[in-house]
Amino acid sequence: MTSKVIEAKDISVSIEGNKILENITFSVDRGAVTAIIGPNGSGKTTLLRTLIGLLPFQPGGRIVVLGKKPRESRPKVGYVPQRFTFDRSFPITVREFLRFSCPGCDELKLKKYLSHFQMDEKENDQLGNLSGGQLQRVLIVRELIRDPLILYLDEPASGIDVSGEMNFYDIIRHISGDHGTTVVMVSHEMDIVYQFATQVLCLNKTLCCAGLPSKVLTSDVLEKLYGKDVALYRHAKK
């Protein structure tokens, strides 16, 4: 079996007549952590949603996820959106919310991930009473308990505080390293990308660059991508 778990070729996406993505071609290896970077409106979320199969792409392109069409591989895929909006006054507990996605999931696994994300004490709380950061953690737990082979994360640490953020990325590294889960994430935090990603895709409607963080995250590339002088402070950990 090929080590490529995602293969995208000539992907173009238009929404209501507006071209959002043009001729995107790339592949992702099994167990890799791929970061998609780019300015606002560059099509990062659109690319994720297209890979998942939530958005259609134009004829002539091809996406193969885990050897199948995105639609067919969806039960093996997890997705944490950038924003999750719901009626906060609606009575539903954290446990119920998790169980709706995975009614047959192992109880121990559910408790383990809640504990990893310091949410074990919130299990029976109402979802609407959680803070933004806590809700984000619950969304991540909801995907992890389904044991996805690929995890798509759209700015996953937004709303999570600094200590929670490092803990979160450590867990992501652990999931990727030990479980072989492939992670594709959208991020604006270059330091995080540099530390955790094994591949970077620079997006601005078209794919501007792709490769190892150490090769791609240079001042020149970032300046071209964001249109401004961007300085990258590298974390000592890597």
Partner: protein, 264 residues
Amino acid sequence: MQKAFIAGIMLAAPLAFLGVYSTLKKASFFGDGVAHASLSGIALGILTGVSPFGMAIIVGALFGAGVYFLERKTSVSSDSIIGILFTGGMALGIILLNLKQGYQPELISFLFGNILTIHASDLVLIIGLGVGIIVFLSIVYRRLALLVLDKDEAWLTGIPTSGLELVFYVVLSISIVLGVKLLGIILVSALLIIPAASAKLLSKSFRKLVLLSILIGEIVVIGGLILSYYLDFPSGAVIILTGVGLFCLIAAWDGFRKITKEKS
């Protein structure tokens, strides 16, 4: 009266159950829409001599399917689509009824509800469809909740979201039309909204919300029918006023509870 009780008990549970999802989906207006649009089915039945109740159910199901397809295929908002189909269906009903000469007592019973016009054949239809809807909801309870709460996640977990949403709209429409005989076109949607809205004030979990909604729905219908019998008032109106009264009591209690909690 016996038939009304059986019909009421059979209708309260599915309507209250579905009310939870329509509240979550913020689609309370849907109930009003389908009830009013069903007038064209009733008119068609009166005009052709075919069961007006049966025709209303068919038109109701078509309304649900129509809203579903137009929501997906156009960029028009859901409220506008319901508003257009609601008024269009009602207008068509008025024109069709205009073609029939003379007073239409059956029409009045559909507009305001009349327990005395519930025939044995209607009861069979209400029991059959009511049981079917409850069984369906018991099976898809979790999947439907996820679909309404987070459509993307529902799709990812393998739920056929398009199919389930279409079935939900059709089932919701049929349930509302089933209640038209008891409560009338004008009032029926209240039985969808009041139990879920009342139960929401008392619940902290989804499971409790569903169970309390059904319980409140049954209390409202049975209590309302008993009151209407002894007061000799129109049953539909008394049922709704019982529901509104119960909601006011629960809302007042909830408000009082919040105030005392804040003070302590």
